[in-house]
Amino acid sequence: MSPMIEARDVTYAFGETPALRGANLAVAAGEVVAVMGPSGSGKSTLLHCLAGILRPDSGEVRFDGTRIDTLGEADRSALRRDSFGFVFQFGQLVPELTAAENVALPLLLRGVRRTPALRAARGWFERLGLAGMEHRRSGELSGGQAQRVALARGLVAEPRVLFADEPTGALDSLTGEEVMTLLVDAAREKGTTVVLVTHEARIAAYADREVMVRDGRVNAPAGVAS
């Protein structure tokens, strides 16, 4: 069975500065993989290449067996919208929208009508301990609440792959662990594949396995193929 998401010998440079130097990573369907590494190691760049946000300079990125690095911007954008979910370090909620509207965004972008989209969005609030906060705007939410809203937004459209880049980086440790518990529980329930970038070991410990990115390459632990 082919991996759900895979990087093969991926290189990427920001101008003259190489960020990835032949990175390989294969993530199976339903697997939660933590991508660890020091600052500047290339782990976020790897996530962006896997998610079709960046196009590698060389190498291949495959999603469910199909190359996506050769797709044009419009097709990659459609892929991100239809098949991927995202959670970033600082929630990045749209401040003008309510929490429920923020969660509903991926569905609205897919063409789901407003009423069913908001209904689906509101379904996440109780589960994430946010009941009653549907109408709040991001400025009226704590950091932990905003990040849980961002998590709901990342999962509401039931993506096949959730990309989470330091999703707890801006939270205190207890709140961060609550968010991770919710993330992993939701992903396991739906069989969502998760690529989790983190530099924190306690956050990586929520994953099924971890890989290390160092100097733009991926090192898997001994005995585990990357």
């Binding site: 020091p38 992993v184 070991a201 410990a205 632990p221 001994a222």
Partner: protein, 174 residues
């Protein structure tokens, strides 16, 4: 258990007198607790009895002792095995990990790979503790937290050490 293996590791660099071994041990690993001469010689005797070292030629050296100890294949294999195997992840391992890293650098072994193996062992244990937290009672959660924070401290040390290996290599190799 660390002293015999550390002395074996030091002997793998080059055959040495007991006096030189004690001096190097105290310099790199003693940290204010010098190894008593008696322990050096009793350890070397046991290592010789077990076939891990042999007494080589009697040559002039510093100190009263003139015996030069040479590591055997059995001893070298034991050092190799010890360095390669990750330490059982438990809190407060810094001293042992430090010894392994320094010896690995002295012997031109892949210290970075050993650190990677150790990191993987630590993360495996952290995953087990995290799973306990996800399914356990509050008391279990708190005990798991205690273990997790200590293992995390080890891991931070592993990361920092990994970033300093080149400088450390310079410091411990002639």
């Amino acid at each position: 258990m660390t002293v015999p293996l550390t002395l074996l590791g030091l002997l793998e660099r080059e055959p040495s007198h007991g006096y030189d071994l004690k001096r190097d041990y105290d310099t790199f690993f003693g940290r204010g607790k010098p190894l008593p001469y008696g322990q050096v010689y009793s350890t070397l005797s046991r290592l010789a009895r077990d076939g891990k070292v042999v007494v080589g030629d009697v040559a002039p050296g510093a100190g009263p002792d003139r015996k030069r100890y040479v590591i055997t294949d059995v001893g070298a294999t034991e050092v190799e095995h010890w360095l390669t195997e990750p330490v059982e992840p438990e809190p407060h391992l810094q001293t042992l990990l430090f010894t392994k890293v320094v010896l690995a650098l002295m012997l031109d072994r892949p210290a970075e790979e050993y650190l990677d193996t150790q990191r993987a062992a630590h993360l495996r244990r952290m995953r087990e503790l995290t799973e306990i937290k996800r399914s356990g009672e509050l008391v279990d959660v708190m005990l798991a937290d205690h273990g997790l924070y200590h293992l995390e401290a080890d891991l931070r040390w592993i990361e920092t050490t990994g970033a300093r290996l080149d400088a450390l290599r310079e410091a411990v190799r002639p």
